[in-house]
Structure formats: structure tokens, C-alpha cells
């Protein structure tokens, strides 16, 4: 059965919409995928995070693992809050000296960075190092 012109247009729009929604879903999935260690290294280097922080080493700011310890078992709200803090900077959590803002960092990347940091396991007698 042949479709009318309006129906063909509608079908074309529907196909486009479906493709677009599929792309959005795929992108959303990619955004939620945890960073690998290599991706995290690239991200932290490209944005100069490693000029202040390291996984275990105390540089200028707290080591990432210390951050993970403080915010163990984070709620989604905590994750969002940390991501905002990475972009906007702030002070008070680790002393009075503020952390610089990172306005060029996309919120998606900031959230991925926060998630990666909080995924670090603590190091102690009962745990093994992840690196």
C-alpha cells in the first residue's frame, strides 16, 4: 500500500526522531561510562588537575584517594556537588586556600572526573592498592 505524501513526511520525521533519540541514548550511555585510568590521566593532564593533585601523593591539594575516603558511598547529589566544585573551584573543605576554577571543563567531564576519583579504593591493611 502506497503512503500519502503527508504520511511519507511524517514517517521520515519519525525515523529522524528515532535516530536522534538513539544517538542521545548512546551519548548518555557514553557519558555515564566510567573513565579508564588512561582516560582519567588524559583528562587530568589536559586540564592541569595534576598540577595540584595526584592519586596518592600530596601535592598542593589533597590526594584523590583522600577525597574518595571523605566522600565514600556518595549520593548522586554529592557527585553533582563535587563536579560543580571542580568547575567552579571553592574553599573550606581542605583549608582556607581556595582551589582554582576550571571553567573550560565541560560539566560532563567534571562529573566523569568526580566519579573516577570517588571510585578509588582506600589503601590500608585490609585493602589492596588499585595501581
Amino acid at each position: 500500500m502506497k503512503r500519502s505524501a503527508p504520511m511519507r513526511v511524517a514517517a521520515r520525521h519519525f525515523r529522524r526522531l528515532a535516530i536522534a533519540l538513539g544517538l542521545v541514548a548512546m551519548t548518555a550511555h557514553a557519558q555515564d561510562a566510567p573513565l579508564t585510568a588512561a582516560q582519567a590521566k588524559q583528562l587530568f593532564n589536559a586540564n592541569g588537575c595534576n598540577a595540584c593533585h595526584a592519586v596518592d601523593e600530596t601535592r598542593i591539594g589533597p590526594p584523590y584517594r583522600a577525597v574518595a575516603l571523605r566522600y565514600a558511598n556518595p549520593s548522586p547529589a554529592t557527585l553533582e556537588w563535587l563536579a560543580i566544585k571542580i568547575v567552579s573551584g571553592g574553599a573550606g573543605s581542605w583549608g582556607a586556600v581556595p582551589m582554582v576554577s576550571n571553567p573550560r571543563l565541560a560539566p560532563r567531564d567534571a562529573k566523569a572526573a568526580a566519579r573516577w576519583i570517588l571510585s578509588l579504593e582506600s589503601v590500608g591493611p585490609d585493602s589492596e592498592r588499585t595501581e
Binding site: K41, Q42, N45, A46, G48, N50, A51, C52, A54, E57, R59, I60, G89, G90, A91, G92, A96, V97, P98, M99, V100, S101, P103, R104
Partner: protein
């Protein structure tokens, strides 16, 4: 009252849409002209920048800027094909804000005519260059040291610095009830915060190298990263910088009075001046762009991506040529020779290269002085920096055929005989309490008789080395922080020196090694990075890191004029002049992503432009 309300509504609309969208006008062949008008009194605004931003991906420049004349009239000389698409037209002048009052461009015969409106503003925070924020900070050695140290890598005061200052002022948790105690506590926090930033900067500059580089922060241990001897400012200078910023960095960073800053000089641009900007990839870090004899292209060095880039200014087309080196190379400085070959110094792995545009092949040499640590990090790197140039900025060889190079890692001058591959290294001037890298030996200029090579040290002096005896024969002292950076030689025996920290230009008589004049730039916080001799116009062009402007210094009269650039964060390092008298440069975008990633070509349309 009703008129005032309508105007206010118009201004509110303008805040949301600061430029005029040309829309889908079918004016492919039309010339574009119009008038910039002040909404305050309806008169034309002279000297405004009118910028046509073209759609991304369109052939040709990414943007074209012209200047309005004394009556506010402007005219674009050519009509790009993209004009009929989603191009936007914006007017700008310091002290004004572009407002959109409705309406659109009108056809008048073959022309497209439009009016652009500017409203005077009291707050110039969003339009002023970074340097404006230091206009009221006290002058002196400490300010010069701060400018020379910080602006080597980024604009001062950049938006991120201002955001950080705001964070410091927002810190809570100190004594709350006693105002005097709170202020005392804040003084401590300010100082500690800026000391922290100095530490951050020492390590941050390692992270701008590619990950595969041995000088990347990921490959450098933390103690090395924080070692001031391997940095461009000493431990003591770092403390001076922190103290100065704590005491004098503006506390109020949300607004800036229009009375605080002015460009301070007459325009060096006129209604026939055209600025064309060309897009580089956002991740590119092309800091220098030069023409080459016999080539229609412009050539840039990309320090981040280990390549040079070729820009066709006719089409905007880019081609990239990776350095043929197995590892990170970090192309830093690029200069042509008389034959049209490109010579490139590299900060990574002690490399110096020659690229032949005809064969598209590289030849590389390794320049590694003895005495360097066996460590590829900055503490053990030669850091091949600048090569000897003549008055046109072309690579120049001494009488023995040697190219002279500044070696930051050892504070030496090196020589390369390209035909034999022979290299040698010679000591320069040394200042107590500075490590070799702290001196930041920078520029090299060969004298007209090719018997002397002049060098500058950003944290030191200017000197002259005799190419036969290989000894330093002349020294020109400068105060700490004045920051002699890039130099140029004119054809009358003078050496012109950009004083990066002091915001001045020095003129040295090369025969006597005496400073015969120092010229104050209109903006002393401009951080003049380089000077370029313009033989045709008998002028020195000054490229500035901080002020989003270029200065023209008349060699005979000492008069200075300014060309404001159409971009903020236009960290300009170097200018070259092509055979048609155009100025060629590139915005630094350093660190990568902090500014516009654009090459810039300026057609002055003055008496020095061939008709």
C-alpha cells in the same frame, strides 16, 4: 519617559543578542558598508571595530574586521561568499557596548548597508583587556617582576585569575565579629592563596606538554616539578610575585570603571585597515605564524601537537606537517630564510629543524650541550629556543655560515653549521642567584656585518658576543623585572628590545652598546613580547601578551599609535611582515584553550601598503 522606557527595552534586548545577524540575505555579490552610531546622541562613532564573524567551516577567514572613520562610516573591502549565510556583524569600542535596536541590513543598489549602535557604558569589565585590571596597581620592580614572571605563560589578569581573587575574597570561616581581625586574617589567606598559585604555576607549565613528552608533569617527579631552578622565575621572585598579587591584585573583579583604563594612544588603524582572522583547530597551540619568501602560504609552529601548520590565507585551508622525529618535539619558534625554507626550534628533546616547503621534508639536528643532567625533564633539557635573525626576521648566518641559537637549559648560545652538522656552545652573561634556566635567555639577533650576535635574557641583561672570539664583548644592564625579551635590528645600527615586564621598548646603539632611548608604551602592563622592524614604514611594531593590542612605534619621532585587536585573550607573541606590508601573527591560545585559536593577518591600508 516613554522614549526612555523604549530605549531601556532595546538595551535589554541587546544584552541577550549582542550582534546583528545578517540572516539569509541573498547578497552574495554585495559589498557591505554602514555606520556606527552612538545611541547617546546619534552621532557617528569613530575608530570602532566592526567585525564580521563568518560561519564555521566557510572558506576564507573566520572573521573580518574593519574600523569606522571619523564620521562612523565603515566599509568592508570584499564581499565573502558566506555573507549571505549566518554571518554576524558586531561593533566594538572600549567604553561602549553594542546594542541591537532591531531592523536589518538594507540593500542600496549593489551594496548592503546597515547601522550598528553603540551605547556608552560605565563598566568595561567584559570589554577591557587583561592588562586593564593592573592599571591602578603600583608601578615598580615588584610589578615588573610579576608581569615578567606570570605573563610568560598567560595573560595578567586573566579571567581565571580574577575568578580566583573573587574566591579568596569569598572565603569564610575566619574571625567573624571583629572587622580588624577579619581583615588581618584575610591578608594571611590572600598571601597564602597567591603563594599556592605560584606553586601551582610551577607545576602546571609541565602539564601543557604532550603526554608523550618527557617534560610532561606525568613524567616529572613532584620535587622536580616544584624546583624553582628549573623554572622561569626563581624562588625569591616567586615570593615577590605572591606578595605583590596579595597586596595589589584588585579585590573587586566584577566590574571595572571606564575611567580605570584607556588604550592611551591614537589609532594606527584607519578606514582602509582590514584584520582577517583564520581558524586553527581548537586544540592547536600555534603561537607564531610567519610568511616565507616565494610562498603564498603562512607557516605556524604548534608546540602542543609536534607539527607545523601551513595556512593558505586565500582559502583558509590548513595543512599540517608533523616533525619527523620519533617522540615529542614541541616546535617553538619558526622563521624563514631567504630561500623560503622554514627553520624551527623545538623545546623538547634538544631538536632544531629545517623544513623545505617544496619537498615537504624535514632535516633535524640535535643540539645538546654538555653539563646537562642526564634527565629529559626540563631540568635536563637543552630547550633550543630562538635562532639568529636579520632585520627582516629571516634566519641569519654569521660569516662562517653558522646559525646561532639560544639555549635556555644552559643559558648559553649554540652554533650550528647546517652543512657539516657541527655544533658548539658558548657561555653568556651569568647573574648570581639565578639558575641557568632562571635567566631565560631568549632572543638572538645578528649584526649587519654578521660579526656579532646579540642576545637577551628575560631575567637578565642584553649582551653581545663576538662570533670570532666567541666571547661576550658588550653588556647592557637592565633592572630586575624589566624583562628584555624579543629583539629586532633596524637598518641603521639600532637594536630594539621589548621590555616585557616594564611595558617599554629600549633602543640600543649597537656600535656603543648604549641605551639611547626608552619608550613607555601607552599601557605599561601590556607585556610587550616582541618587536619587529618595518623597513618600509620606518617603524617598530610591538606585539603584546596582555593588552589585546599592537603598538606602532615611529622610529624617528618616538610617537606611538595603537591597533586594538578584535579578540579578548589575544595573547600575541610575535609579528612578521610579508612582502606586501601586511602584519602576520597568531593568538597564543596558551595554555591551550584559554584564548582564541586564530591566525591574524592585518592589512594596514596605509602609505606602507603597496597599491
Amino acid at each position: 519617559m516613554a522614549r526612555a522606557t523604549r530605549l531601556a527595552k532595546s538595551l535589554a534586548v541587546a544584552a541577550a543578542s549582542a550582534s546583528l545577524l545578517l540572516g539569509s540575505s541573498p547578497a552574495h555579490a554585495a559589498a557591505l558598508s554602514g555606520r556606527v552610531v552612538s545611541v547617546a546622541d546619534g552621532t557617528g562613532v569613530a575608530g570602532a571595530l566592526v567585525t564580521l564573524d563568518l560561519p564555521a567551516g566557510a572558506p576564507g577567514p573566520a572573521a573580518i574586521t574593519v574600523f569606522s572613520d571619523a564620521s562612523g562610516e565603515f566599509r568592508f573591502p570584499d564581499s565573502p561568499d558566506a555573507l549571505g549565510r549566518d554571518a554576524t556583524l558586531t561593533a566594538a569600542k572600549l567604553g561602549y557596548r553594542h546594542v541591537v535596536l532591531g531592523g536589518s541590513a538594507q540593500h542600496a543598489g549593489a551594496s548592503l548597508v546597515t547601522a550598528l549602535y553603540l551605547a556608552p557604558v560605565a563598566d568595561i569589565a567584559s570589554e577591557a583587556p587583561a592588562s586593564a585590571w593592573l592599571s591602578r596597581a603600583p608601578a615598580g620592580d615588584a610589578k615588573n617582576i610579576t608581569l615578567a614572571s606570570c605573563s610568560s605563560c598567560h595573560q595578567l589578569a586573566s579571567p581565571r585569575m580574577r575568578a580566583y581573587a573573587a574566591q579568596i575574597e569569598a572565603v569564610r570561616a575566619g574571625p567573624g565579629a571583629d572587622a580588624a581581625a577579619l581583615e588581618q586574617w584575610r591578608r594571611i589567606v590572600r598571601h597564602e592563596a597567591w603563594r599556592t598559585i605560584v606553586k601551582y604555576m610551577r607545576s602546571l607549565h609541565y602539564s601543557v606538554f604532550p603526554l608523550e613528552s618527557a617534560t610532561n608533569l606525568d613524567a616529572v617527579d613532584w620535587a622536580t616539578a616544584q624546583n624553582a631552578d628549573y623554572n622561569f622565575f626563581s624562588e625569591r621572585q616567586g615570593e615577590i610575585v605572591a606578595r605583590y598579587l596579595a597586596d595589589h591584585f584588585p579585590r573587586e573583579t566584577a566590574s571595572l570603571s571606564h575611567e580605570a583604563y584607556a588604550t592611551g594612544a591614537p589609532l594606527a588603524a584607519g578606514p582602509r585597515t582590514v584584520i582577517r582572522e583564520f581558524a586553527f583547530p581548537p586544540r592547536a597551540l600555534v603561537r607564531e605564524l610567519v610568511p616565507a619568501p616565494g610562498s603564498p602560504f603562512l607557516w605556524g609552529a604548534d608546540v602542543k601537537r609536534n607539527l607545523i601548520v601551513r595556512l593558505d590565507p586565500r582559502s583558509g585551508e590548513l595543512r599540517e606537517f608533523p616533525v619527523e622525529y620519533a617522540g615529542s618535539s614541541g616546535p617553538h619558534t619558526i622563521a624563514p630564510d631567504d630561500s623560503g625554507a622554514l627553520w624551527v626550534t623545538m623545546v623538547d628533546n634538544d631538536q632544531f629543524g629545517r623544513f623545505d616547503p617544496k619537498t615537504e621534508r624535514w632535516r633535524l639536528w640535535t643540539l645538546r650541550p654538555s653539563g646537562l643532567a642526564n634527565d629529559a625533564s626540563l631540568g635536563g633539557a637543552a630547550i633550543v629556543h630562538d635562532m639568529s635573525i636579520d632585520s627582516r626576521g629571516h634566519v641569519a648566518r654569521d660569516r662562517a655560515g653558522n646559525i646561532w641559537l639560544t639555549m635556555v637549559g644552559t643559558n648559553q648560545l649554540g652554533t650550528l653549521q647546517p652543512e657539516t652538522g657541527d655544533v658548539a656552545f658558548y657561555d653568556t652573561h651569568r647573574i648570581e642567584q639565578l639558575s641557568p634556566i632562571n635567566h631565560l635567555i631568549y632572543s638572538a639577533v645578528l649584526s649587519a656585518d654578521r660579526a656579532q650576535v646579540w642576545f637577551s635574557q628575560v631575567n637578565g641583561w642584553v649582551g653581545c658576543l663576538d662570533v670570532r672570539s666567541k666571547r661576550v664583548t658588550q653588556l647592557v644592564p637592565f633592572a630586575e623585572g624589566e624583562g628584555p625579551r624579543r629583539m629586532a635590528r633596524d637598518d641603521e645600527g639600532h637594536l630594539w628590545v621589548a621590555l616585557f615586564g616594564a611595558g617599554r621598548v629600549a633602543k640600543i646603539d649597537m656600535a656603543t652598546a648604549r641605551v639611547v632611548a626608552k619608550f613607555d608604551l601607552p599601557d605599561r602592563s601590556a607585556a610587550p613580547y616582541a618587536v619587529t622592524w618595518d623597513e618600509r614604514r620606518r617603524a617598530v611594531w610591538v606585539a603584546n601578551a596582555n593588552s589585546d593590542a599592537i603598538y606602532r612605534l615611529d622610529a624617528k619621532t618616538g610617537e606611538i599609535a595603537v591597533i586594538p585587536l578584535p579578540r579578548r585573550m589575544a595573547y600575541l607573541r610575535q609579528l612578521a611582515i610579508d612582502r606586501d606590508g601586511r602584519l602576520i601573527g597568531s593568538y597564543g591560545n596558551y595554555p591551550e584553550g584559554s584564548g582564541p585559536s586564530l591566525g591574524v593577518v592585518i592589512e594596514l591600508g596605509d602609505e606602507g601598503t603597496p597599491r
